[in-house]
């Protein structure tokens, strides 16, 4: 195209901008700023000129789906070949109750299980600990010993399904319990499939369920990566999680940057132990939040894949394409749900889920409308699952790969998210990596600052939450049946645990704990000794207390 033509794009744009001013006199902008949910300014319009100015190069920056740098997705035919895994997080009360919920979800077409544990389990306490009072079975299922895990997966063939387990501080113990259950069911190690969250760095950053100081805790994560790589080739050893970082108040860019930097933290420790990048990186997986801002979220997922691929190839010299592929689970944003007019949450979840799919997620949890009030009821869980099924079966979005690829705006936003996330990653590198950054409280402070900033935006109504700070109404819709976990669960769990403890061989228990302690002191891989201990029904807390004795405990500085 000749530069002098009066209808060239730059001249057209110039003229349009002049005309725009006239239009804006008639229809002034509704606000001073137009921003994403993370408070990032967005342009009114993007054109090929923006991409040209950013040096956008299709082959380098997007490439083909299923190929480096995977911006357009990790599979060549994406959802035509395989839909995302519909994986609803579930867990409450006793193992027996959760087992029933699991079976209900499997009967209704869910394709993978996802386990939520209660607070005592997440903190490495048994149900009979004084610290567990009032918390047993409340936010997830209570697991104190292998007996609970056996009951949790009773009648569910572990070789045929994939299981995700959301646990971090004592993840190594719960993973060994899962492996023990699979072994008892006679499942071959290669057929044990699923994902352990096991991302302790983000606990210090955001979710704050920790046991030990940062360094030994990271070593335990690395132990499980090592053990899984050698023994369970199809198990995803870590789910490097941005979800909790975002929920704690991070921006989309912070969520992305801190999550990827956590991943780099584990990789660096594995490399220090002498493992090659391609021996373990293929089994690292990710977990992101999917929040309100449709395009910002899509850009985040696309940028995530591109950054990870580039880091793996350029920084670590990975050769295996699987090491470069960022495979991710997504969950709709719990924090976006409102207790006010809770049925509106169904709509929020649907739009967030749509963004996750447009962003090319590999697995998805859709929140239930009542989760801001309590754990979800069966009916609410079913609506959330049906939301995914409607998206998959009725909307046509699964027919085409990365339908927003090439959108001037989405590509430009993807570039920007990548650029800003890389600035954070560089800053963390300069601090000495994520372990050092966490120890000095850097990501924690960044998140707390944005959380406060966002709350101020809500108070000033610069950000609107429908039904909360605008369009409020008398709560005729408020009456909702919620799930109630009664205190008798706690008593039943305690009785059960005491019965198990009474039936153990005391010498075996003492011996197993001694081996755990000695291994911890020697800094050896802890998986083997813990596996042996759980098989003798040594409890979660007994094992964790032994490790607390060796490693010490972590205490938060409590700054705000």
């Amino acid at each position: 195209m000749s530069e002098t033509k009066p209808n060239d794009l730059k001249s057209i744009e110039q003229k349009w901008k002049e005309d725009l001013e006239k239009s804006e006199k008639k229809f002034p902008p509704r606000a001073n700023r137009f921003t994403t949910w993370s408070d990032m300014d967005v342009p009114l319009l993007s054109t090929p000129t923006d991409l040209e100015n950013e040096g956008f190069d299709y082959v380098r920056d997007l490439g083909m789906p299923g190929e480096y740098p995977y911006t357009r997705g990790v599979q060549r035919n994406m959802y035509r070949g395989k839909l995302w895994t519909m994986r609803q997080f579930a867990g409450f009360s006793s193992a027996e109750e959760t087992n029933k919920r699991f079976k209900l979800l499997l009967e209704h077409g869910q394709t993978g299980l996802s386990t939520a544990f209660d607070m005592p389990t997440l903190m490495g306490y048994d149900c009979d600990s004084p610290r567990s009072k009032g918390e047993v079975g409340k936010c997830g299922v209570s697991v104190s010993s292998l007996a609970d895990m056996e009951e949790l997966f009773k009648g569910i063939p572990l070789g045929d399904i994939t299981t995700s387990m959301t646990i971090n501080g004592p993840a190594i113990v719960v993973l060994m319990m899962y492996y023990a259950v699979a072994e008892k069911q006679g499942v071959a190690k290669k057929d044990v499939k699923g994902t352990l969250q096991n991302d302790i760095l983000k606990e210090y950053i955001a979710q704050k369920e920790w046991l030990f100081p940062v360094k030994p805790a990271v070593e335990l994560v690395v132990d499980t990566i090592e053990y899984g790589t050698e023994n369970y080739p199809n198990w995803n050893t870590v789910s490097i999680s941005g979800y909790h970082i975002r929920e704690a108040g991070a921006t989309a860019v912070q969520e992305l940057a801190f999550t990827l930097a956590d991943g780099l933290g584990y990789i660096d420790q594995m490399l220090k132990r002498g493992h090659s990048i391609d021996s373990f990186a293929p089994r690292l997986s990710f977990f992101f939040d999917v929040h309100n801002d449709f395009f910002e979220e899509i850009a985040k997922f696309r940028a995530a894949r591109r950054i990870w691929a580039r880091l793996m190839k350029e920084r670590y010299g990975a050769k295996d394409p699987k090491s470069m592929m960022l495979r991710t689970h997504a969950q709709t944003a719990g924090v976006s749900l409102t207790a006010q007019q809770p049925y509106n949450n169904i709509v929020r979840v649907a739009v967030q889920a749509l963004a996750a799919v447009m962003g090319g997620t590999n697995s998805l949890h859709t929140n239930s409308m009542d989760e801001t009030l309590a754990l979800p009821t069966d009916e609410a869980v079913m609506i959330a699952l049906r939301t995914q099924q409607v998206l998959a079966e009725e909307t046509g979005i699964t027919n085409v790969v990365d339908p927003l690829g090439g959108s001037y705006f989405v590509e430009s936003l993807t570039n920007r998210v990548e650029r800003e996330a890389m600035e954070y990653i560089k800053k963390i590198d300069e601090m000495g990596g994520m372990i050092a950054a966490v120890e000095r409280g850097f990501p924690q402070a960044e998140i707390a600052n944005h959380a406060y900033h966002f709350q101020r935006l809500l108070e000033s109504k610069d950000k609107v939450m429908v039904g909360v700070n605008k369009y409020q109404q008398q709560e005729f819709g408020r009456k909702m049946d919620t799930l109630y976990i009664d205190r008798t669960v706690e008593k039943r769990q305690i009785d059960k645990l005491h019965a198990i403890k009474a039936n153990r061989n005391a010498a075996d228990v003492a011996n197993a704990l001694r081996v755990v302690r000695e291994n911890a002191q020697a800094g050896k891989n802890m998986c083997g000794p813990i596996l042996e201990a759980v098989k003798h029904y040594v409890t979660l807390q007994e094992i964790c207390d032994e490790m607390r004795g060796v490693y010490g405990i972590y205490t938060d500085v409590g700054s705000f």
Binding site: M119, A374, S559, F560
Partner: protein, 137 residues
């Protein structure tokens, strides 16, 4: 209320139990500090005994507990009993977080003065404390 009076109000922001959700607690703590109160934040994973001890040691006017785990019915009564046993009878007791409506009345009967659930504005909390914190001379 003038500034010098406001400066006298000491607020303990506490996280009882094992739940690690501290976004709300930290945002509230910062907002109360910005509003001129003296704020003491306990940090996470506090037992009722630890919270009572902090309240007594800091001689606070207000105890605000943030709970999202569903453990409020087990933990809040222990804190209230503890401060009363220690002779602190006038402290304003606030609870914030995920609290089902059916638990409001029992908690109020136990001595909780106000419950703030998601959607409550920072200003509401500040105003409530300014209007209701005990006056001690």
């Amino acid at each position: 209320m003038n500034v010098s009076q406001k400066e006298q109000i000491r607020v303990l922001v506490a996280k009882p139990g094992l739940d690690g959700h501290d976004r709300g607690a930290k945002v509230i703590a910062r907002a109360l500090r910005d509003a001129g109160f003296e704020v003491i934040y306990t940090g996470l994973h506090q037992t009722p005994e630890m919270i009572v001890r902090a309240a007594i040691e800091e001689d606070v006017h207000v105890i605000g507990m943030s709970i999202l785990s569903g453990a409020h019915n087990a933990l809040v009564p222990d804190v209230i009993d503890g401060v009363k046993q220690a002779g602190m009878n006038d402290a304003l007791i606030l609870v914030g977080g995920i609290i089902p409506e059916e638990d409001f009345e029992p908690l109020r009967k136990l001595g909780v003065h106000m419950i703030f659930t998601p959607g409550a504005s920072l200003q509401e909390v500040v105003d409530y404390i300014q209007a209701n914190a005990p006056k001690r001379s």
